[in-house]
């Protein structure tokens, strides 16, 4: 089932730079997709348009049936509630504990305390941080912080998890741990779209890969097809 559909999407920034050029893309429910390409190829712009951080200059972007391009600014939250987003720099609140950081996403909606507790404990278990719930982010390693960020992104039960270079700040071993967490989440039915530079990871994961160049799709590889040739 098609979850994301992009048709003739253009994105030109105000300074005149064309980031995305007539892009067509379709992603099905439950897929795990890597988006790769050189710096400045438009990867980040592409996913920013999915969670409406950026608005396309023209074209149509359907996410779960909603045209994200047309949605009004004050309605963006409706899209955001269907998506989880994870960044390279984690974006955690340092004054809140791990538990509070994850619960933060639920408190806004006024859920009852016990429901929040159950949901938070469940996702912390999923990312393997149940025993660190009371610690502060600054006391955690980079990998652990990223797992907290992932927990926060999925605690609402989003259909799509968008990851913008989630392993960019992590070493190889930790990166693989994060990938394992993401794969586990994907197996539970969440569609994952991940932007990365790390060809090593892409090689190992053997998922669908979309390679961008100058805002266009250069090549597309089906699951298991992509093999990065080491120079």
């Amino acid at each position: 089932m098609e979850l994301i559909r992009m048709r003739h999407v253009h994105k030109v920034y105000k300074n005149g730079v064309t980031a995305i050029h007539d892009l067509d893309l379709s992603i099905d429910k439950g897929e795990f997709v890597f988006i790769i390409g050189a710096t400045g190829c438009g990867k980040s712009t592409l996913i920013k348009m999915l969670y409406r951080e950026e608005r396309p200059t023209s074209g149509q972007i359907l996410v779960g049936g909603i045209d994200v391009a047309k949605i009004k600014n004050r309605k963006i939250y409706k899209i955001r509630r269907k998506l989880g987003v994870v960044f390279q720099d984690f974006k955690l609140l340092p004054k809140l504990t791990v538990y509070e950081n994850v619960a933060f996403a639920l408190e806004i909606f006024g859920l009852p305390k016990d429901e929040i507790y159950n949901k938070v404990v469940r996702v912390l278990e999923l990312v393997g941080l149940k025993n660190k719930a009371k610690q502060y982010p600054t006391h955690l390693s980079g990998g652990e912080q990223q797992r907290v960020a992932i927990a926060r992104a999925i605690v609402n039960g989003p259909k799509i998890l968008i990851c913008d270079e989630p392993t960019g700040n992590l070493d190889e071993k930790t990166s693989m741990e994060i990938m394992n967490v993401l794969e586990a989440i994907n197996k539970l039915g969440t569609t994952i779209i991940m932007v990365t530079h790390d060809t090593e990871i892409v090689n190992k994961m053997k998922k669908r890969v979309i390679e961008l160049d100058s805002g266009r799709i250069l090549r597309e590889y089906k699951e298991g097809e992509y093999v990065h040739e080491v120079d």
Binding site: Y77, K78, R81, R152
Partner: protein
């Protein structure tokens, strides 16, 4: 239930934020406190001034002295003519005759010198004093006109009114009231500006939090409300001291002077329900100014 939980969460967050930016919050609270204190003082002043103006208006009378050789029939006719004029209060008490015999008696009672002089004036014809009407009017500002109309009645010798004194007094009261209004408005504006500034800095210091809130799907209202609450709370906190001072100060003043100042000249308004009404108004001003200030800051700096 959901709304109540969100409400409590917002109140909790507002308290946290006030404590986190304590010095700035304190500045805003102090500013509200000073503003509301001035508001309280000016309201006390203007309410009392108003009540005094009313009292003066009720008490001020025009005195019409009649001719010395007037007949008693004519005296009665003059009363009728006065009552027919516009701007004269209705009712028996509004036009009262002070006949010269009772004036003589009153004066004789007041001093022995008068007694010696006046004891021979027992007959009406001998009495050189003048009969007088005390007349109450409706609109004090029309006093001069009414006086002139009374003076034109045949048999009226002289008309005395307190026009100049009343004019001056009401003029002074007017200046006091307008002056306090001006000060209050200026202070309210300054306070709203200060609160807007406090909230602006709060917004900047919580930028990261706001970004994350947006990211996890908080609606604009979700994001705005805690800040508006914070403004509201600053307003409420700022109104505590002025209310305490007003409640304690005014009732102490009232009991100490038995409701009167400067001899018996000024009668104070009773503390109850005056204090409750003014306290309510103070909280309301605090809340409105606080919310307005933060709303402005949120609109301007959150860009949502």
């Amino acid at each position: 239930m959901k709304l109540i939980r969100i409400l409590f969460r917002n109140i909790r967050d507002s308290f946290k934020s006030i404590i986190r930016n304590f010095s700035l919050s304190l500045a805003s609270i102090s500013c509200i406190t000073i503003t509301l204190l001035v508001v309280a003082i000016s309201m006390t002043l203007s309410v009392n001034v108003n009540s005094m103006t009313k009292k003066i208006e009720e008490d001020v009378t025009i005195v019409a002295f009649l001719d010395v050789d007037i007949t008693e029939e004519r005296i009665a006719e003059i009363e009728e003519e006065i009552r027919k004029l516009p701007n004269i209060q209705e009712g028996k008490e509004a036009v009262i005759l002070d006949d010269k015999e009772s004036i003589r008696q009153e004066m004789m009672d007041s001093s022995s010198t008068y007694e010696q002089i006046m004891q021979n004036w027992e007959d009406r014809e001998d009495n050189p004093l003048k009969d007088a009407y005390h007349i109450k009017i409706v609109d004090i500002t029309q006093m001069g006109k009414t006086s002139k109309q009374i003076a034109q009645i045949e048999g009226v010798a002289v008309v005395k009114d307190a026009q100049d004194m009343v004019d001056q007094l009401i003029g002074v009261f007017d200046v006091i009231t307008k002056g306090t209004y001006a000060i209050v408005i200026a202070l309210v504006l300054v306070t709203a500006f200060l609160i807007a500034n406090t909230i602006k800095i709060t917004i900047f210091s919580r930028k990261r939090e706001i970004d994350i809130m947006r990211l996890v799907g908080a609606s604009n209202t979700n994001i705005k409300i805690p800040f508006v609450f914070e403004g509201l709370l600053l307003g409420v906190l700022g109104s505590i001291i002025p209310i305490a001072i007003l409640a304690y100060g005014y009732s102490t003043l009232y009991t100490k002077f038995d409701g009167r100042l400067f001899g018996k000249f000024v009668t104070l308004v009773k503390p109850e329900p005056f204090i409750y009404i003014v306290s309510g108004i103070l909280i309301l001003i605090g809340v409105v100014v606080g919310m307005f200030g933060s709303w402005r800051a949120v609109r301007k700096h959150l860009k949502i």
